[in-house]
């Protein structure tokens, strides 16, 4: 091997190192954000009290940490992780920077599913049924988009338009149900729509974790295929990627993730669009790094947003959807203005 080749390899490895470093940094950031979130709350607890409450059963403090603060932080992290992940997957398979679980109607589909179950199918095991409803309806959106794409050999613009049309349809259906519902149901839907982490218990977290984390390794294994998809369906096909099958499975997996994100916490939309772009601007488009990094960035954003939402105007809680937009949008604009070139 010539020295020149060696040099190219070394430069590549240095480059890859930066991306690994970013991943490590994101994990560190998530840990810090979690720690800060754990220390913030209505009950004044010092850092050491928090740590000892975390480790030993000391009654009240232990309950506050383990039953109130930790679940909502873990849920925030999970949901952020899922939305960041689903955002990248949808953008990659549609080759469209505007794609996200919400612009494709997958989010509102899941929302309609959850609301329908809340309204029309009350009773025991609500948690699981809401999750199922959300997933089934998110699949409806995803299937329609894929079908349209296949039928008309559609461009990614057509897909986004289809998604937006679906989003409006599902939103109106949800509004209709809300209109028809009793006061009690309406309040439940309102609560749900604001996006809330207050109701996250360990049962919900376990289910959401399964829906969000299980598809992750499957999607990560396809990272090379997502990379190839960026250069067009034909090139990807010629390089041995079964594009149709990849698209179908990826959409199903991402829909499952989306459903897991929003069925217990309501509509927390913006992260799914922004986390992928923020990450992309820093580490580029290699999906082997982009998938986990965007997921981690989403988790950091949501955990931070939740902590801010709880503390900025305490004891009033600012719904997490609102905070997310407030911190996400300016940061996103900043990156858009600052960038020196087209990133997509």
């Amino acid at each position: 091997m010539s020295t020149n080749t060696e040099a190219i390899c070394r430069r590549y490895q240095a480059h890859a190192h930066v991306r690994t470093l970013f991943l490590a940094f994101a994990i560190l950031l998530l840990i810090v954000a979690t720690a800060i979130g754990l220390c913030c709350g209505a009950t004044g607890m010092s850092f050491w009290e928090v740590v000892s409450s975390l480790l030993r059963d000391m009654g009240r403090g232990h309950s506050i940490i383990w039953m109130l603060r930790l679940p909502r932080i873990v849920m925030a992290a999970l949901v952020g992780f899922g939305l960041g992940l689903a955002g990248v997957v949808f953008q990659a398979i549609l080759r469209n920077p505007l794609a996200s679980p919400f612009t494709l109607g997958v989010g509102s589909g899941a929302g309609l599913g959850a609301v329908s179950v809340i309204l029309f199918w009350g009773g025991g095991f609500q948690t699981y049924r809401v999750a199922c409803g959300a997933f089934l309806f998110s699949l409806v959106s995803a299937t329609v988009i894929i079908a349209v794409a296949k039928m008309k050999r559609a461009s990614s613009e057509t897909m986004i338009l289809t998604g937006i049309a679906l989003m409006f349809l599902f939103s109106s259906l949800t509004s209709l149900f809300q209109y028809m519902g009793t006061m009690e149901q309406v309040h439940e839907i309102v609560f749900w729509f604001f996006g809330s982490l207050s109701k996250a218990g360990w049962n919900e977290i376990a289910l959401a974790a399964a829906m969000i984390l299980l598809p992750f390794p499957i999607l990560l294994r396809r990272a090379w295929d997502f990379n190839l998809l960026a250069s067009g369906d034909e090139s990807a096909l010629a390089l041995g990627v079964n594009v149709n099958r990849l698209r179908m499975w990826a959409v199903a997996a991402a829909s499952l993730v989306t459903a897991g994100c929003i069925c217990f916490t309501g509509v927390i939309g913006f992260v799914g669009l922004v986390a992928p772009h923020i990450t992309r601007m820093v580490i580029g488009n290699d999906h082997r790094f982009l998938l986990p990094a965007s997921a981690l960035v989403g988790a950091v954003i949501l955990v931070t947003a939740d902590t801010l939402g709880r503390t900025l105007w305490a004891p009033q809680v600012i719904p997490i959807g609102i905070v997310t937009s407030f911190i996400g949008v300016p940061f996103f604009f900043y990156l858009l203005m600052k960038r020196s070139r087209e990133y997509w």
């Binding site: 091997m1 010539s2 020149n4 080749t5 060696e6 040099a7 190219i8 390899c9 430069r11 590549y12 490895q13 480059h15 953008q91 990659a92 080759r95 469209n96 920077p97 990560l220 294994r221 990272a223 090379w224 295929d225 990379n227 190839l228 960026a230 250069s231 067009g232 034909e234 090139s235 096909l237 010629a238 390089l239 041995g240 990627v241 079964n242 992309r280 580029g284 488009n285 290699d286 082997r288 070139r341 087209e342 997509w344």
Partner: protein
Amino acid sequence: MLQAINLVFDYNGARVLESVGASVEKGCILSIVGPNGVGKTTLLKCIAGILRPAGGSVLIEDRDTFGMPRKELAKHLGYVAQNMPVRFSMTVFDTVLAGRRPYLAWRPSRKDLERTAKIIEEMNLADLAMRDMDRLSGGQAQKVLLARALAQDTRYLLLDEPTSSLDLRHQLEMLEVIATLVKSKGIGAMMAMHDLNLAARFSDTIMMLHRGRMFCSGTPSEVMTPENIREVYGVEADVRRENGHLHIQPLRCAGLNHPL
């Protein structure tokens, strides 16, 4: 030998290819020429397995490719598209490395990296290795795509108008790179070409398509005759041989009396 036999392709009920055949030996270049919309790209896509033809077959060393898994096919046949949609672009190195995909585990092996680096060096892309694709000129990007197809380590290459959107200098450079590779590595290449002079100069054989059918094929001097060009392109042309090269000079549209 890469061989396409009696390919038939319909699009929206209209026949685009009518029983077209083509073949190329290792170490040879076959150029497919013909006016716009005649089915050059469709033919290449059918051979590459991107489009599924309604009839006919494609053989690589007498093995039918249609039953082959895609990943397997990608080890035998590389395809370079006319242009790449630039969205979510990666670095040059990552792009070329992606060509190793048929061989790649999730984490590229030392061998994959070395192979990629070697191709980048051979293609004179070393300075650009860590640059993002969307910051390359058209010629550079085209070279990277060719490099990616080379990274596939295939015996045959399909090139869809490799010189489109390149300036004169880069057209020549690109074709010289291709010709060198074909000869030195013994690769068989099929190219869709627009420029008849360049096609005549760099091809071992030329196939002329006309209305979805093969009009004629053979050596450049057999195919590039004023009669053929008039029939297929509707253009009066002057064909001369100088210094061992064919020169095709289009004069006027057939049926018109004033020169172009």
